[in-house]
Amino acid sequence: MIVANRKTLEEILTMLKPYKKILLLGCNECVTVCATGGEREVGVLASEIKLSRAKEGQEIEVREQTLERQCDHEYIDQVRPFVGDYEAILSIACGAGIQYVAEKYRNKVVLPGVNTTFLGVTLEQGVWSERCQGCGECVLHLTGGVCPIARCAKSLLNGPCGGSSNGKCEVDKELECAWQLIVDRLKELNQMDKYEEIIPIKDWTTSRDGGPRKRIREDLRL
């Protein structure tokens, strides 16, 4: 899933300062699962905003709405009948959702209520961890199913740097060294011979470095 963190209330209130009537948009997908931008969080944030503004004597009207997805236009279209009644939209979907809403309502100010962070998994209740950077050329078959691009602080492809100590990364003693995980897994799979092979310098054109990416499936187009 895409994991996001909510911005601080202070940051959000600063962005909202000029407005008296806003539409607060949540999303039922990833940000609901990571408990940042779903229906529940829309409710909590709306109360916090209204309370803070009331304290300052600057009342604000907040309409709460949570869409099935903010990354598909048919759902974004659901707010079209009343979007004109609001001065600004505060979206707490991921960065893709926020942008798509902005694209669809060109004359509305669209504000981000979250910081989108990574593609990850739920480790346990309330703990999420990064797993993928969407580099566009997967090497997991070579690295025991552990991604060195996303999980090594230096994205090293041929083994751990000199800062790997007791299974931890030099960057943070709480952070697992990706190469320790890779070596452990290769050993479990009896694939240590894979470690001996040099992985050549990566082609980054499939990643963000090649420019914004777009995928077209001709067979699916109408």
Binding site: A153, K154, S155, L156, L157, N158, G159, P160, C161, G162, G163, S164, S165, N166, G167, E170, V171, C177, W179, Q180, V183, D184, Y195, E196, I198, P200, I201, K202, W204
Partner: protein, 308 residues
């Protein structure tokens, strides 16, 4: 491909190589480098010039290399993957060769988190093993990574570093094996304090025959005080300082600790000289260059061989 590197020539002669390092200053004053250089004259065969070590901004390695070259040294250009993509790396390789630099040390680089600009974006377009391969391809095949022909090949002796004290320990010799396969010719190790672990690593290196393919220079760093030893033990990533070293320094009066640190360093070198496959000593006296001569002298590493 023969280079003009002193390290290559001394390794070939079968004698021990001695190297040390010069950290460039945090400013544009060339005199700082010249002063450090003077302390190393006649003591080392080649001198490493660090590349923004610990991610702290300093004068560029290549500039400081040139200053030392003009003083008659054979500098080793350290280059990290942290700050340059493949375009900048290849460009700097050509520039270094054009300025008469004979040696390059291919390094991953410390994470920027440790330095004075932790908010920087890092690069890591390639890793150190891929950098070794890059230099070798440019030098031996006369080709850029993109496949185009190079007019005027960069003739550099290729080095790397390895840390026998980092984990996972069991792949540390295999990692050197990958570096050898990529084309590395000499290797400098992280500072050695845990002799038992270093000997075990060397055994694994010899089992793979890597000591015959790569000139291994064992790294040492003298302690100035027990405080420094504790700091290295607890705060420097990948450093292995056994408790008995700390105890030994603690056991002498404060004003005698630096002397004791030098003594430990000399004893370490003497032990390292006996280990099969160790072909040289790399003395890293961090901001203590004035002690390198004393250490080399006491360890029987002087005089250095005369090279024509």
């Amino acid at each position: 491909m023969k280079t003009k590197s002193n390290i290559e020539r001394i390794l070939e002669s079968g004698q021990l190589v001695v190297t040390s390092e010069c950290g460039p200053p945090r400013g544009a004053d060339a005199e700082v480098i010249k002063k450090k250089g003077k302390l190393l004259q006649g003591v080392v065969d080649a001198v490493n010039v660090t590349d923004n070590q610990t991610s702290v901004v300093r004068m560029s390695s290549l500039s400081a290399c040139l200053i030392l070259k003009e003083m008659g040294f054979d500098p080793i250009l350290q280059m990290v993957c942290r700050d340059r993509n493949r375009i900048a790396i290849q460009s700097d390789i050509l520039g270094a060769a054009a300025l008469g630099i004979n040696n390059i040390l291919c390094l991953t680089g410390d994470h920027q988190k440790f330095g004075d600009h932790p908010k920087a974006k890092n690069v890591f377009d390639m890793d150190s093993i891929q950098m070794i391969h890059t230099v070798k391809t440019m030098r031996d095949e006369g080709k850029f990574l993109g496949g185009e022909e190079i007019k005027g090949k960069p003739i550099l002796f290729i080095g790397a570093a390895e840390n026998p004290f980092a984990d996972p320990f069991e792949i540390r010799a295999a990692r050197l094996g990958k570096k050898a396969k990529a084309g590395v010719q000499f290797l400098q190790t992280q500072c050695i304090y845990n002799m038992a672990r270093f000997e075990k690593w060397m055994e694994m290196v010899r089992d793979r025959g890597l000591h015959e393919r790569v000139g291994i220079l064992a790294g040492v760093t003298p302690f100035k005080s027990v405080g420094m030893a504790r700091y290295m033990k607890n705060s420097v990533p990948g450093m292995d300082v056994p408790d008995e070293m700390i105890e030994r320094l603690k056991g002498v009066a404060k004003e005698k600790q630096s002397e004791e640190g030098i003594r430990i360093c000399v004893e370490t070198i003497q032990k390292l000289k006996q280990i099969p496959g160790v072909r040289g000593i790399h003395i890293m006296a961090i901001e203590w260059e004035e002690k390198v001569r004393e250490i080399a002298e006491a360890a029987g590493l002087l005089p250095r061989p005369e090279l024509a």
